[in-house]
């Protein structure tokens, strides 16, 4: 499970450094889903982002030597836990990053806590990671279910979508998404007209969509993910739901899903993300570089999170002069330093491990408005960082006093 990349050629430069330059050695492991459901939103793209982060950082800090390995957890908590254990114990990895799939992320978080190393979650969504299951060795970057629910829910109600109907995947993640979004909608003054639960990995949503259609709700919230979301949207187009005046709110949708649907089917879909490749010139330039390794694909916010997370970790490593044996100390250092990276801009990491940054309400463009490949979204609203994530006090994180 080692694809070892030594990025250590800078050692030659180090030789000139002499006693003043502190040699910092870091080993980072990108643990992701390389081969199944989340391979597009995380996977090899995360490894590419990691390489870029390391290359950019070591260019400015020649005294830092970083070794990168990667592994495939295949969406199985057993394998993820096994790899994490082995990496921390045997392979002397200091930081594990990414891990799409909340079940695996929770398992790895435990391992990081036990071994006192560092774990940065970019790929997984469970807001519990900074809630009841938080610990002093884990940082949650990019996004979580609370932010998705709140961002999409509140923002849509504010722009006029005040009656909702939920199509929910019948398992813990779907219920959580539904519950959080319902709370956000009602708090913003909207009404929930009804909901229907469908089994996970359903192929055919016709009966559920019919119910949604007859409820006459202005917004149909899709509290599901992956293939279920894509099927719901595809079939909603078939039944003319969006043409009939209702809009679809995807509570967990990535750029790769939009690419899979194609703009004719996905147009009008409203969703929330914390990073989009086409938002500004910096992002566009970064994306071009990223695409050299991943031709034909588009980076997701998860890839951006891996880049930013590693950058911040390396800054902390330098501040600690390379002393990385105490994971809790490193995380504390990361929380004490404000973050500043090209992709997410300025931000902070809260005591519960939650990285906060602004979120963006996005709408999928009509095919006619899309000028070039990858031109998926219109930005409908920006949610400021202090509103985008769950308030610190409400999380029930044991690290937060009270």
């Amino acid at each position: 499970m080692r694809k070892t990349l030594g990025l250590a050629a800078l050692a030659a430069v180090l030789a000139c450094g002499g006693a003043s330059a502190q040699q910092v050695n870091v080993k980072i492991g990108v643990l992701s889903d390389m081969s199944s459901l989340y391979a597009d939103i995380g996977g090899p793209g995360s490894v590419a982002a990691a390489k870029m982060a390391i290359a950019d950082f070591t260019k400015d800090h020649p005294d830092v030597k970083v070794e990168l390995i990667s592994g495939d957890h295949q969406n199985k908590p057993d394998i993820g836990s096994q790899i994490a254990n082995q990496w921390y114990d045997v392979d002397k990895v200091d930081l594990i990053i990414d891990v799409p799939n909340s079940g695996v992320a929770l398992a790895v978080s435990q391992v990081a806590n036990q071994k006192n190393k560092v774990f940065i979650v970019s790929g997984a969504a469970a807001s519990d990671i900074t809630g009841p299951k938080c610990n002093a060795n884990t940082i949650h970057w990019t996004y979580d279910t609370w932010m998705l629910a709140n961002g999409t829910g509140t923002a849509i109600v504010k722009t006029g979508g005040d009656s909702w109907f939920f199509l929910t995947a019948d398992y813990a993640f779907g219920h959580a998404l539904e519950r959080d979004t319902m709370a956000a909608v009602e708090k913003a003054g909207g009404k929930v007209l009804g909901k229907v639960r469908h089994p996970l990995n359903t192929n055919d949503f016709s009966s559920f969509l019919l119910q949604a259609q007859s409820s006459k709700a202005k917004v149909i919230g899709l509290a599901n993910a992956g293939g279920d979301t894509i099927n719901s949207i595809k079939q909603a187009a078939e039944f003319g739901i969006v043409k009939g005046g209702q809009s679809l709110a995807g509570l967990l949708v990535f750029a790769s899903d939009v690419a899979a649907l194609g703009l004719p089917t996905a147009q009008g879909l409203v969703l929330t993300e914390t990073w989009y490749w086409d938002m500004n010139d910096t992002n566009r330039a970064w994306t071009k570089r990223w695409q050299q390794e991943r031709q034909g694909k588009w980076p997701t916010m998860i890839h951006a999170g891996v880049y930013a997370g590693i950058t911040h970790y390396l800054k902390a490593a330098v501040a600690l002069k390379g002393n990385l044996s105490d994971g809790k100390a490193v995380v504390a250092q990361m929380k004490s330093m404000p973050t500043d990276d090209p992709l997410f801009g300025k931000g902070t990491i809260r005591p519960d491990g939650r990285k906060v940054h602004p979120a963006y309400l996005l709408e999928v463009k009509k095919p006619a408005d899309s000028k070039y490949p990858g031109d998926f979204y219109n930005i409908r609203a920006t949610i400021p960082a202090d509103e985008a994530f769950r308030p610190l006090k409400e999380g029930n994180c044991p690290l937060v006093s009270g």
């Binding site: 081969s35 199944s36 597009d40 192929n203 009966s207 894509i230 595809k234 078939e238 790769s256």
Partner: protein, 295 residues
């Protein structure tokens, strides 16, 4: 309109119609499986992967030749059917003398290969494929809005299903096929090329799966795992109908689609499991399935 069991007849007929649509896919797929098992005694675990290959073939045909849905409906099954023929010649023919469990294991392995390769080249999110222009939109039937495409699905599958049944049960070619499974040596003695018939039969069963895949592409997500999600349910359908019974597969497919549709309305959380429960019951009461001959 009138009320029955507390729900309006509108909703009821709507659900029944939708159930029939689902049932069409079940019927097409279980038909292919039944043909293959009935004629070859092989459990074709790669049927789901071949369904997926049909959908992917439709996508690729569109990408590379610009041909749309209607040509794909013919070309894709032929292409995938040819791969089926290759599979049979390369792998399956060595297994006929063995326990049929080996056929199951081999096709299971093939399914993993097909799915893995598809995933590596195309990613797992899925590929876009839209409903053809001529079938877009729908009509309001009063009790529900029926997309035109879905009406075509029901019609198309009924035609293909009963066409296949007719060929196998009522024509001479079908009679040769059926005779060959019962007594290949005797049939060969009559000068009929039995191995070639078997190969073509497998190819045909695979082509049926691919045909279902093309029909599915506009409305279901075209992803590498689309087959594996469906295959277990289809097995249950075939077992309930009676493995090897063509008519059984068709009728059970449509019937179970309707039952599943009704369950989705009354008790959605159980809609996954209802087919398996029925399968367990049927196997206990009638081990050969509803329409099967004695195992």
């Amino acid at each position: 309109m009138f009320e029955m069991f507390g729900i309006s007849s509108q909703a009821l007929f709507g659900q029944l119609l939708i159930g029939l649509i689902n049932g069409s896919f079940y019927a097409l797929l279980s038909l292919g499986l039944a043909v293959i098992f009935g004629m070859l005694n092989i459990i074709n675990f790669s049927h789901g992967a071949q369904y997926m290959m049909g959908a992917f073939a439709a996508y690729l045909i569109l990408q590379y030749s610009g041909l749309g849905y209607w040509p794909a409906l013919i070309i894709a099954p032929i292409l995938v059917g040819i791969t089926g023929v290759i599979v049979e010649r390369l792998f399956l023919q060595w297994l006929y003398k063995l326990d049929h469990l080996y056929g199951l294991l081999l096709t299971f392995g093939l399914a993993l290969i097909f799915e893995g390769v598809a995933r590596n080249y195309f990613g797992s999110a899925g590929l876009p494929y839209t409903v053809p222009e001529s079938l877009q939109g729908g009509r309001n039937l009063g009790f529900m809005f029926l997309p035109n495409y879905r009406a075509w699905v029901i019609g198309g599958s009924l035609v293909v299903c009963f066409g296949t049944w007719f060929v196998i049960e009522r024509t001479r070619l079908g009679a040769y096929l059926r005779a060959a499974t019962e007594n290949p040596t005797l049939v060969r003695a009559f000068g009929i090329n039995v191995p070639r018939m078997i190969t073509l039969t497998y190819g045909f069963g695979v082509a049926l799966a691919a045909f279902a895949g093309v029909m599915a592409a506009p409305i279901y997500n075209v992803s590498p795992q689309m087959g594996s999600e469906l295959i277990i349910v289809v097995f249950a359908v075939v077992v309930i109908g009676g493995m090897g019974s063509i008519l059984g597969a068709i009728i059970t497919g449509f019937g179970l689609g309707v039952i599943e549709g009704l369950t989705k309305y009354f008790f959605p959380e159980a809609s996954n499991t209802v087919i398996f429960v029925i399968m367990a019951i049927v196997l206990l009461v009638r081990p050969a399935g509803l329409f099967g001959r004695r195992a």
